[in-house]
Symmetry: C2
Subunit: 335 residues, 2 copies
């Protein structure tokens, strides 16, 4: 039997996790003045402004330990996703991650090796997504009936102004960085009867987009530098998140159907495999953590962005070619 | 039937919670540049250094919804404790709380009124404990099988150096701010068969210390100003936390038995009631969130502190009148 967290004391478990998390520490970073091991960490905030956000994943709500298609979620998947989701919120403000504090609630029968994987996944995401100045600086460990992973992340604007949801103006262009619909397509595969072994490389990649999303972390700061008027992270679906931006700015976001079709095309084969119209994933699927941003006409668009619509004068809401959309996103409590 | 969170959408629940949390907003504070409602919050950090910590409470682990003595934990209790625990970590570094982000994981059958109470308790603790510049700036809401409340808190050192666990030196005095043992005595009452109605005012107050601890938030900054050499928050018991300070500093913390007896005296009647030696609570009980700090001999001790021991040259560890103690604190995974 491999050991479980109930076999270890809190401090013994911490001694196993911490070195793996500290693998995020960059020699060049001088952000962390006091790291893990005291009552709290101390960070340097050179430009005197800090971005902060918090995000939680719960077993069987945000991920399943075992999916209908047989796949077992690894600790690495969960750790990666926790880091990616949180760093995406900083990206969406135009910032770069500087630190993370992580709270783990673990059932006693959780394997220690699973928790080690989680720490490795967290560290790998921070590094591989390019958040090179971000370090895990503290955390909390406790027991519970289900796995709950919460991370709070801080970020730096590096002297830029934050990009809010409120600044979109009629006439702006609407642009997307990163992907939409891929994580939702991956979710549909995990919830189908198609085993991982039966899938082609494309479909496996979609599952990876669901389990280990790849937010375009450079794009947020680039958009801020280019003068983005509004921006947010697409976490609950393109339509639902565009509605949020539209409501906050008091404008209409009108999507170009041809641009949406281009986003749908790479998902066609998986749509056929599962008998699902992939436009559902493009419009309603979150969790790729792409960025939706608005820019003034004629701006030099950062390379990560493609134009997918325009901003109209109102009423506040979302349209596709001036028609109301019929597919919506995700609500955590809706039945 | 009163409504549950499953009856509401995520945004409807947020609309109920947010105004209650924003009751923490002080007109005078200019810390919050961007508050709740965007992908992340933006804080002002005038002295370019930030203290940060995270802490989680889990139903049936950190609190019971219903205790053996019949008491039902209110949302107000849980919200208060979440704020108090987190603010205590900032206090223990010598800082003052500036912001909080809060993640709530709630079973669908949680009553909306319970969640309203939780938001009120969080806001009340921030205000009544004296963290006047602290505001809730963001959060996350999700469903789960049990209630999990995680808060991350930021703080300011206001130009002071942080007080770490590592700086205690032989010859220093050991001092306590706040209380020890009261929350543990309250826990023993909750876990007994003594109903709340059967208790005297003193015992009810001990239960309140368990459910809504009162960390001495001014004492941390005062200790830092007075030149405290080391400090931590007593969350897992006086002996266990003193051991941490001793280990970090490489010194012996030697407690004065007469000082410990004085801490025990107010708990004698409750000890008799329950048939428990109250020294167990003084030495092994955490959760009052008092501060243990060391100061150079002859320092002008801040008024919140009383001397309870001295620092010796080693070996690293804790003694009482130079003898090893026999009562230890709390480990989250130990059986």
């Amino acid at each position: 039997m491999s050991p479980t967290v109930a076999d270890l004391s809190e401090s013994a478990l911490l001694d196993i996790i911490l070195p793996r998390l500290l693998a995020t520490a960059s020699e060049e970073s001088d952000v962390v003045l006091v790291g893990p091991g005291d009552d709290a960490a101390v960070l340097s905030v050179p430009d005197s402004r800090l971005v902060i956000s918090i995000d939680t994943q719960v077993q069987d709500m945000d991920f399943r330990l075992q999916w209908p298609n047989g796949y077992r979620t690894t600790g690495f998947n969960v750790g990666w996703k926790a880091a990616a989701q949180n760093l995406s919120d900083i990206n969406a403000m135009g910032g770069r991650g500087t630190s993370m504090v992580v709270s783990l609630t673990l059932p006693g029968n959780t394997k220690v090796s699973w928790v080690e994987d989680l720490a490795d996944g967290l560290a790998a995401a921070i590094r591989e997504l390019g958040a090179n100045d971000c370090q895990v600086v503290g955390g909390d460990l406790g027991a519970g009936r289900e796995i709950v992973v919460t991370a709070a992340v801080t970020g730096s604007l590096e002297g830029r102004e934050p990009v809010l949801r409120t600044g979109a103006r009629p006439g702006d262009i609407v642009a997307l960085a990163g992907t939409v619909g891929r994580a939702a397509a991956g979710l549909a595969i995990l919830e189908s009867s198609r085993s991982m072994e039966s899938l082609g490389a494309d479909a496996v990649e979609l599952v990876t987009n669901q389990l280990q999303p790849w937010p375009p972390l450079g794009a947020g700061p680039a958009a801020a530098t280019a003068g983005a008027t509004a921006m947010l992270d697409i976490s609950d679906g393109l339509i639902r998140d565009a509605q949020r931006l539209a409501a906050a700015s008091g404008v209409t976001v009108d999507f170009d159907p041809e641009a949406l079709a281009k986003l749908k095309n790479p998902l066609e084969s998986t749509g056929k495999l599962l008998g699902i119209d992939p436009m559902n994933w493009v419009l309603g699927g979150g969790e790729d953590h792409g960025l939706l941003a608005t820019f003034s006409q004629g701006v030099d668009l950062p390379e990560q962005f493609v134009v997918i619509g325009v901003v109209g004068a109102g009423p506040a809401g979302v349209t596709i070619d001036s028609q109301p959309p019929t597919i919506f996103g995700w609500d955590h409590f809706a039945g």
